[in-house]
Symmetry: C2
Subunit: 581 residues, 2 copies
């Protein structure tokens, strides 16, 4: 190769434009070319040929191994003479052909995995669950069954009651299939690692209730791997899978996009089961608390004539010839709910924001937990109610959803969310002072910057031992026109933000309930009053002083469980690039 | 006049084209015209003049009476020397200037109207409530106070503690103003008609907390009138107000459109307060029942890539450059919720239908109560759960919301909704036979016609004594492609409808959970499978047999309370002509 160099280093134009005739040979396509070029071409062709051969060999090997795997995963054809032929096999698709027997309940017949405990020792139980994983071979097969975030080991040992065919059948059941098994509960001497249930089932019968395809688009074990640095999951914008180093070992991290593209499987991961169920719990306790306090649940329109907060980033639709917007908040409607004499209202519903934002804390559609409440004398009546509300939610989540919370923690380790019954409340300028003392700059007439909110969260956690606090009396510039000004502090408003782990999860305020003042403030904030006349007019007919706020469900969920990316906290998240599934 | 007739009866062309010259005179504008025409014109002008004069006189009288009324309703200027000057007047706008005293609760200070009963006899109480009506004059003023659907009489009698100025001030308080009063609870000898509370307050102090404008766009007493024929309310498409005859009396009926244009006042009518609160109750018990049975609440996206049920009547929006639709149902997402291992899910959320329908039972946006549930052997497990669910809702509404129900009944009399714990279930063909026997025609291979549903409702009510029943096993033609066929009855499906008072309030079915069968059925129903491939693929990875249904909140509310127009059951209804308020 080295000998060629001088020639090659000549300027190409020379070498090509003026070939010496005595050096010319015929190339493979019959065209004349220089010896050197010919030599080079031959080398190239040979290289390509070798590459092609390698490729073919690899493909052949892969095909062979796939064939073998397919055989392994393929249908097991049951021998009709199998002594256990009536104890295993594929069930027909369930099409409700057999009516339940009078007086007999299927809930007595089928046990839930989470309920299979030592108390059932030596009893015969029937369970429907997913095949999470199968190990073992020959006459000893181990199946990990999964039902939501509960797991249970079931085994087949070849013996009088279990044939080798039955073992082979079980071994080949595709992961994620739903099976119905019957067996005896055994209590093993040693704890069963990797299973939530500390008993095992010795299988007597095993039936495939609904079969999965043999190959899954994501590996659920990988998707359930412990993730120490959650930000790594975001990086699949570049790469489908990434790995996290732990000492010398590397663990596969399934990226967030891959997960969302296969959400139906991703959601089966125990941590995600936990997140979904804790989300349901937040709504449950939110309502329970408020209904107990005479709040009325309302449902306000999502299709509205104007924009709900005067913002520009709205989704628009044609509404029988006129233009409608998707509500960015139920703000004005819940205020009407108070003023029409319900006095205390709440709503849980979708909120739409056409923001082209890709941060791990924004969604284009999220679930708003909104409330609005008349008060008698001071908006702190409302602030205190909301403090109690959150206390109630957090306390009950910890009490009732501890298993779900642990399922999340197992995969995404996080520090417990700490809160105190007495919620610390800081005046905005106090918060600025606290920040200043700690070396952060914050203009006392502008809204808190995100970094300063985080810093404040850390300082408050250290000083007051809580992840949950309130800042109130925000500067005029930071709040919308309908916020009541503080008459005792003219540059500030009767407004408040609630924080979890240094991130805002609820914004609220006393609202102006006087038409004149509302008009004045609209003008001052450059909102043309004629565009909001209906809203202003609402307060003409006797209005309660009132305050409220809007909470983002996914954000509360994210911060309670220490999740980094909000997309994990929405069942089917929507961002500017994602409209499916 | 009679003498003119022959001339007038001549063909016009003749009479006008050839007037005799000797009959011509000069008209008021200098133009020549016939004597007859002149006479006629003069008569006409005189008539117009008289009409104009009458109009002016009436206007003058109206202006005079309005001026008098305005004086009556005008601000009462308090005499600073009034001996009761510190006991009445207008409060400043509540701007949260006084912090609540440590340890003192405003809830001890202010009593609710509904809680003012005989037990408080002779006690001094403070109440905040609306001024519903003021009667009396001089030294005896009666105020009916209203708080939601509770009403209470309060009186001022001129005496040592109450000045004449105080009485006059109270008399002039505009209706709908919020007042704070303090007074002594008296128990009168005779029952107080027209008030829910059977005690009265002798006022010691009266303060206007938030003043209403003196003239309201609708009269709340009219809007609260008893309505025997609810259909009359619909007729304001032609006329703003109509009247209902009762013997010799006529009662003003405020039309539905007038109501909706002034919804903020209309909703204050006790019947509407009742409807809103019963609606909240339905959601409450729906959730309570399902959460108790291990259902998980989910929130599925309303912005979706395709149409949710393949229908054409969807609202569309631009989603960052691609087209998105507003979900017509959470159908596919809740099925994914089941299949991703939640097994039992429910959702309460908005449902959008771009149907150009103006019936009293359709809305373009309504609240869907959706549920979906895995079952073990037969979809009746789900049907039975839904029967129990409704029983739970109805029973608890009657128990807890009896006052709200009565508030509705007072204005819109209706027969109690009757249901039985054992819900009658009819096979579709049985329902057809029942109809046939009663003389109704119904094709057993087509969906039930609306009139037949109503007829069936009446027959079932008569025979079985219930307003609530189920029809199942609908013909293939009546159901969407994803409905499981009944293998034992090839022309029929595993589907069901639930009925209240002969109207369908829930449609549901066992869904096909097999990708191949789903593809086959899509093709048979002319849905191109490639447009729903993601949906089909969901069932590849092991799927539970499952069934569910979707309930329209407003429709349940309408039928439970015997309301004619569904617009009354939505807080801010949306139909093709209404996008506000």
């Amino acid at each position: 190769m080295e000998g060629d160099k001088p020639t090659e280093e000549k300027p190409k134009s020379q070498a090509q434009d003026a070939p010496k005739e005595e050096n010319m040979v015929e190339g493979p396509d019959g065209q004349m070319m220089s010896r050197k070029a010919y030599k080079k071409l031959m080398k190239k062709l040979e290289k390509e040929k070798r590459k092609e051969e390698t490729k073919k060999r690899v493909e052949a090997e892969q095909a062979k191994s796939k064939k073998k795997e397919d055989e392994d995963l393929g249908e097991y054809v049951k021998d009709p003479n199998d002594p256990c032929a009536d104890k295993f096999g594929d069930l027909e698709l369930c099409r409700s052909t057999v009516l339940p027997e009078e007086g007999k309940s299927v809930y007595d017949k089928y046990k839930r995995v989470k309920n299979i405990t030592e108390e059932l020792k030596d009893q015969v139980v029937t369970i429907r669950a997913r095949v999470h994983r199968v190990t073992g071979k020959g006459g000893a097969i181990f199946i990990i069954l999964r039902e939501s975030f509960s797991t249970l080991q079931a085994c087949l040992f070849q013996n009088d009651g279990v044939s080798s065919g039955m073992c082979e059948y079980a071994r080949r059941i595709p992961k994620e299939s739903l099976v119905i098994i019957t067996g005896i509960v055994h209590v093993p001497e040693n704890p069963i690692k990797k299973c939530t249930q500390q008993v095992e089932i010795h299988i007597q019968e095993i039936w495939n209730h609904h079969k999965s395809v043999p190959r899954l688009p994501i590996n659920l074990d990988d998707a359930a791997n412990v993730v120490l640095n959650q930000k790594l999951e975001d990086e699949d914008h570049k790469e489908e899978e990434t790995k996290e180093e732990r000492g010398k070992k590397k663990t596969i991290i399934v990226g967030q996009n891959t997960r969302l593209n296969n959400r139906i499987l991703d959601l089966r991961v125990p941590a995600n089961q936990g997140i979904l169920r804790v989300g349901s719990g937040i709504c449950r306790y939110f309502r329970e608390f408020l209904l107990e306090r005479d709040f009325t649940e309302i449902h306000t329109p999502k299709l509205i004539g104007g924009t709900s907060e005067g913002g520009a980033e709205v989704f628009k639709t044609d509404y029988f010839g006129t233009e409608a917007c998707l509500a960015q908040s139920p703000q004005l409607y819940k205020q009407m709910g108070v003023t029409c004499d319900l006095e205390r209202v709440f709503e849980i519903g979708p909120v739409f924001r056409a923001e082209k934002s890709f941060t791990p804390r924004h969604l284009c559609e999220f679930t708003g937990l909104d409330l609005e409440m008349a008060f008698y004398e001071h908006y702190f009546e409302v602030v205190d109610t909301i403090c109690e509300l959150f206390g109630y939610i957090f306390e009950n989540l910890n009490k009732t959803y501890s298993k779900e919370i642990e399922a999340v923690r197992t995969q995404y380790p996080f520090e417990d969310f700490v809160f105190k019954k007495e919620v610390p409340k800081f005046k905005f300028v106090e918060a600025c002072d606290i920040l200043k003392e700690a070396g952060y700059e914050q203009n006392p007439h502008k809204d808190l910057e995100t970094e300063n909110e985080e810093a404040l969260g850390k300082i408050v956690k250290e000083k007051y031992g809580t992840d949950f606090f309130v800042v109130y009396n925000y500067p005029i510039e930071a709040r919308p026109f309908y916020t009541m000004l503080n008459p005792d502090d003219p540059e500030y408003t009767h407004s408040y933000d609630f924080f979890m782990r240094g991130q805002e999860i609820m914004s609220g305020a006393q609202r102006i309930h006087d038409p004149e003042m509302l008009t004045e403030r609209a003008i001052a904030k450059e909102v043309p009053p004629e565009t909001i006349q209906d809203y202003i007019n609402c307060f003409q007919y006797g209005a309660y002083p009132h305050a409220g706020g809007g909470i983002g469900l996914e954000r509360v969920l994210k911060l309670f469980l220490g999740i980094h990316n909000i997309r994990k906290c929405s069942m089917f998240p929507r961002d500017p690039k994602r409209l499916t599934p």
